[in-house]
Subunit: 447 residues, 2 copies
Amino acid sequence: MKPSIPKGTRDFLPHEVRRRNYIFDVIRQHFHRYGYQPIETPVMENLSTLTGKYGEEGDRLLFKVLNNGDFLRKADTQQLAAQDSDAVLPQISKRGLRYDLTVPFARYVVMHQNDLAFPFKRYAIAPVWRADRPQKGRYNEFYQCDADVVGSDSLLYEAELTQLLDEVFAALGLKAVIRLNNRKILAGLAEIAGHADRMMDITIAIDKLDKIGEAGVEKELLERGVDAGAVEVIKQFLGVTSLEKVAPLLQDSEVGRQGIAELQEVFDRVGKLTNRLEFDVTLARGLNYYTGCIYEVAVDTDAHPGIRMGSIAGGGRYADLTGIFGGRDLSGVGISFGAERIYDVLEELELFPADASEDLEYLLLCLDEETLVHGFDLLRQLRKAGHNADLYPEAAKLGKMMKYADQRNAPRVIIIGSREAETGQYSVKHMKTGEQEKLSLEELLER
Amino acid sequence: MKPSIPKGTRDFLPHEVRRRNYIFDVIRQHFHRYGYQPIETPVMENLSTLTGKYGEEGDRLLFKVLNNGDFLRKADTQQLAAQDSDAVLPQISKRGLRYDLTVPFARYVVMHQNDLAFPFKRYAIAPVWRADRPQKGRYNEFYQCDADVVGSDSLLYEAELTQLLDEVFAALGLKAVIRLNNRKILAGLAEIAGHADRMMDITIAIDKLDKIGEAGVEKELLERGVDAGAVEVIKQFLGVTSLEKVAPLLQDSEVGRQGIAELQEVFDRVGKLTNRLEFDVTLARGLNYYTGCIYEVAVDTDAHPGIRMGSIAGGGRYADLTGIFGGRDLSGVGISFGAERIYDVLEELELFPADASEDLEYLLLCLDEETLVHGFDLLRQLRKAGHNADLYPEAAKLGKMMKYADQRNAPRVIIIGSREAETGQYSVKHMKTGEQEKLSLEELLER
């Protein structure tokens, strides 16, 4: 029987792991630089922690872990015989795989609040699981990279997270557009249109402006029961791309004015960025729990034409993270990088540094059994001196060994015959250029 | 309802994550240095991959993941009504959480053999899951740190893995004893004792010498049906601590002589080590699949008296890793670090470097709202210059802010009042010593 792995999961070859780690390392380095601290939570959480936090669809997409031992013993036999999966589920499973890093974070903050200093800044780079139907670019097991701060409503955090987004993409060599909006501006817009209670319908519709155009948004608004007068008001907002121009439209809404003021303060604090920073009144982000500033980052298609990719990072401010677990009311703001999409973009644009695929420095090839002993000792000394080095473990034909060097992507090869072993003068061959140089042991170790 | 996490799983606070990462980083750095390449496999594997690989007990300890959707729909209603867990299991679950990193590695090598260069050297540092009864130091979710090479039977790999074990513990500042034996020596011993077919019984008994003494081993051998004459032969081996002295005892066993020769070659190649390297004829290691050299590492209690801890690393040579998945016959050798135990030992001995707990360099505290804007700009510049820096996000009372600095374990605090903001001369307070120095922005950034 041929072995296989579950649908929607992946194995990674060494060069893929290295490239993934390159992205994670850049993100992690910036999280550290900005004072975000690493925490870790279990892969398995109690289903009581996870269920009901992601809506009905989310509950269905949770991977549930079967109770151990004789798991059916305590289950209701009638419900079993009736094959009533929903009724039996809580009797045979009490744990599940985490669905995101946010709910475990909220649970963590409540459980450890006495051990944490607030404002508490944490990051996590870790896999999550969703039983989605697998498709191109969507997996059942994938990584999230989140940074959040809870316990402060200071807008300085919105500003620093904008800077952090900017610097991570600058470090990755990827030109990005960072779009900002504020849920309070969207609330104000709904209020001005006379539909304060329909904010979700309105934002869902205008969020689609990019895809369906102004006429499409108008149609969708009408279909969602927004009256024609309100649609006219809303249309005024759609072309607006600056805070200055949207401010007069919202002057009669207190929440709208507040949103403008918050966003203005963030823009004022952010300073000079490498990437484009834009105000986007149509930006809504799906998650209901955002209450203030919201972010979304996309590839800058002016700089990288032809890249078709949705959001590569996003986030926002939420009023109360921990209430669901009985925690005190803690405001927070966070961002999340879409590492899997960033990987695809960097690959398509060939933006991975050459050395992100292999970190071997030297590969030693020995021409006979005697020099193999010599080679192994040289290997030991190279490693002791801190070099990443390896050796082909037998004296095989040179062609076979050079093929191995190629497969290992070794940048430098040292071929050791009896003359090299005697004189202690080694030929180092640079595989990219074909150049050779003669180096003594001391010279090699000093590199 | 108070939130909780499943029994046998853990949350980690930031300083714990950093200390764990310190260990993982040291191990990973040495894996790289020795040419081992990172691979990653999914957390979820098909149960067909996992089941039957760890014995009956292992199968019971696998965490199984429930099929998604209406999972009971296709299950046998009679078996359900009879609460026959064993019969129902394969009908409602086809995936499980990995139990170790070795079986997934074997599966990986078979699936990707055409993409790999042999000898293939891989490492993995990743969590595994076992439904053991949780107890002190034993968890349901814990990390393994494995390096293996497959596709070569060169003893140079046994030698380099010994060097790698030595250097990792040297880098961690932990004095260790590395014990080596060879399964072929144990086979030879059984043969000499006239019980070639009872090698497992014999090795299980003599493996306990440390715990139960020579009289205990003798009793256990007799209980296991080894005759008194054979027990006398075996007792000759128990006091022997050098290869030279065991060789004459095994001269009539071909496999025994081969084991001696292999081990001698490893000792010859290894060179000078930092830690003690010992031959231990009683070392057996539990796993049946080892066929050649075996390793076990313990804390050196001469150097660290009072430390009670079993094996902190181990490994060995196996003749055929991939046969279970229909792969071609590939010999391999590997080692595994017990990171959780190493953590406990480093903590008990206070061997964690001071900077393994916090990587923040500067924390900025601002005395009023105006200087907060100034402080945030200084923060941005420090970060731009590559420093890990943070800011208390409001102008609170100094005592409150200093308490936060303490909790964050900040090594340096910069207090910014209106005078500092005006003059651009900053007081940097070193939290450990209480010393203060005045630095200009340029001086700060140049650090």
